[in-house]
């Protein structure tokens, strides 16, 4: 009995954590390259949820009913449009602030976050929206009342996240654009002098970050089925926490931090109290940072005196 419950909670935690991780990647990428906490990221994720739902509605309208086709085309369309959102936000609100104080873009990001929420609220209404269940059913292990299950949707989430992370890790570590990202992060001026188009690199980081958030947004939309214009806020804070937990700036760290956070929440909620799970999560973060000031996988900045 107990083992089944524990296993189920682990499944719950890992799924939630994977989603946190996917959103956290956006924070980490942007931070990694321009040292900016992009507080509008949660709202980009929110926008992507709407785009995914609208795309589904449009597909249904035109009579496309095949689930795998729908899922894949929604993922692609959502990533592309959300990516353009990421690009446009950077272009309009952050690029003019390059080279000013570090905090200016932070405030600008808060403004963008308000704008996006308000824009979606005005356009789509404040009420909760939903999508029909796309994939139903689950792998079940066990029998009767004693079982562990992983829904097909959860499986899709895990696979999609793995694929997305795999692609990203490869891009960052082994491709030219990844190297240029890392160079830009360390010294933008010199990178430009060496011929790196830093504006384009920064734009692409925002696009990639937004697209990853869109993967998260799409999956969340289809997994939980409901959303409104305000979901970005809580998710934003959680994902930011995950990013820092893992060491902000580190891609695998973001995923690890996300999963750790998801597991912590699930286990604490399951075995202690739902009321205080967030208090616990934040306390854990503070304690962890106390002992590892750069997060789990973050590297200390080389500080040669």
């Amino acid at each position: 009995m107990d083992a089944f419950i524990l296993a189920q909670q682990l499944v719950n935690g890992v799924t939630l954590g994977t989603i946190y991780g996917l959103i956290a990647v956006g924070y980490t990428m942007v931070y990694g390259v321009i040292r900016m906490i992009n507080f509008a990221h949660g709202d980009v994720y929110m926008v992507s949820a709407y785009i995914a739902a609208i795309t589904l509605a449009v597909l249904h309208f035109f009579g496309f009913q095949s689930v795998p086709f729908a899922l894949i085309s929604i993922l692609i369309i959502t990533c592309v449009i959300t990516g353009i959102y990421g690009w446009a936000i950077e272009r309009v609100a952050y690029r003019p602030l390059r080279g000013s104080t570090k905090l200016a873009p932070l405030i600008s990001a808060i403004g963008i976050s308000l704008m996006l929420q308000s824009y979606v609220q005005i356009s789509q209404g404040a009420r909760d929206q939903g999508v029909p269940i796309l994939i139903q059913g689950a792998f079940r292990f066990g029998e009767g009342q004693h079982f562990v299950q992983i829904t097909y949707m959860q499986t899709v989430i895990l696979i999609a996240a793995l694929v997305a992370m795999g692609i990203l890790t490869y891009v960052i570590n082994y491709t030219r654009i990844g190297r240029e990202c890392r160079a830009t992060r360390q010294n933008r001026q010199i990178s430009a002098i060496l011929g790196v188009n830093t504006d384009r690199i920064i734009s692409s980081v925002f696009v990639i970050g937004a697209a990853t958030a869109a993967v998260g947004g799409t999956l969340v939309t289809f997994n939980y089925g409901s959303f409104n214009f305000f979901i970005g806020f809580v998710m934003g804070i959680k994902a930011f926490t995950a990013a820092v937990l893992g060491g902000i700036g580190s891609l695998p760290g973001a995923v690890l931090g996300g999963i750790l956070l998801g597991l912590t929440e699930a286990l604490f909620a399951g075995y202690v109290s739902t009321d205080y799970k967030d208090v616990f999560a934040f306390s854990l973060l503070i304690i962890l940072l106390f002992f590892r000031p750069y997060g789990l996988l973050g590297r200390a900045e080389v500080q040669k005196v």
């Binding site: 160079a183 430009a192 011929g195 830093t198 080389v302």
Partner: protein, 244 residues
């Protein structure tokens, strides 16, 4: 666009260039010419504006008036990242290597303007020039000593196969032995047919290496001429060579 014709004029030319940092005018009507294959050095006191002069070539800061011509084309409004594609490379003051990257990755970054096509070949050449880098090829660059970093910065600039290389105080903070080695390397690089524009505090070395030189004072070109002549100039000897 860079491979079209080689005009008869100078490779790089400053035409009455002014530059500002906010309200401070750092360059005042600067005229400098560099022809293909030359070694030209620029000396001057601290804060004279030497680094600024090099930086304006890359548009940071941008010129507030005047033109910078490369092969006869005005490059002063081009985006920074387009400059290096024209075959100009900079070895920046204070080295500025990518601290968190390995030596090899730093070299890869150097190839940005021309792509990785000749990477293996060029890397081998750099390792010949700086055997020390070969030993440290996978060390994180930030943990290397100053001299090692300087060599890396030079090698990185060379990876783009530039025609014109700008050196900003390459001997800064290096041990005497290494300073000698760096100047030998400069000579070797010049022997490869590259054009060199050298900014140095170490006026003695710089003037000995170069054919022509400019002396900068307070943002203006104060003197210019054959290096050998400047070495004998009383004013230069007193102010920049510390001799009486």
């Amino acid at each position: 666009m860079s491979t079209t014709e080689t005009t008869a004029g100078p490779l790089l030319q400053f035409e009455s260039v002014h530059a500002h940092y906010g309200p401070v005018e750092a360059l005042k009507a600067v005229d400098v010419q560099i022809s293909k294959g030359e070694i030209v050095s620029l000396i001057g006191a601290n804060g004279a504006g030497k680094t600024t002069l090099l930086a304006t070539i890359f548009g940071a800061p941008r010129t507030s008036s005047g033109r910078i011509l490369h092969r006869g084309e005005d490059i002063s409004t081009l985006p920074t990242n387009r400059i290096s594609r024209r075959g100009i490379a900079l070895v920046p003051e204070g080295r500025q290597i990518f601290q968190d990257m390995t030596v090899e990755e730093n070299l890869m970054m150097g190839t940005t303007p021309i792509g990785m096509g000749h990477f293996e070949e060029d890397r081998a050449q750099m390792f010949d020039l700086f055997p020390r880098l070969k030993e440290r090829r996978s060390q994180t660059a930030g943990t290397m000593s100053g001299g090692e970093q300087q060599m890396l910065a030079i090698a990185r600039a060379m990876m783009a196969r530039p025609e014109l290389i700008l050196f900003d105080e390459p001997s800064l903070g290096l041990a005497p032995l290494v300073v000698k080695r760096v100047f030998e390397v400069l000579a070797e690089i010049a022997a490869m047919g590259k054009t060199i524009f050298l900014v140095e505090q170490n006026a003695n070395h710089a003037l000995k290496l170069s054919q022509r030189a400019y002396v900068m004072v307070n943002g203006r070109i104060h003197l210019s001429g054959e290096s050998a002549a400047l070495l004998d100039n009383a004013e230069v000897r007193k102010a920049y060579l510390g001799l009486h």
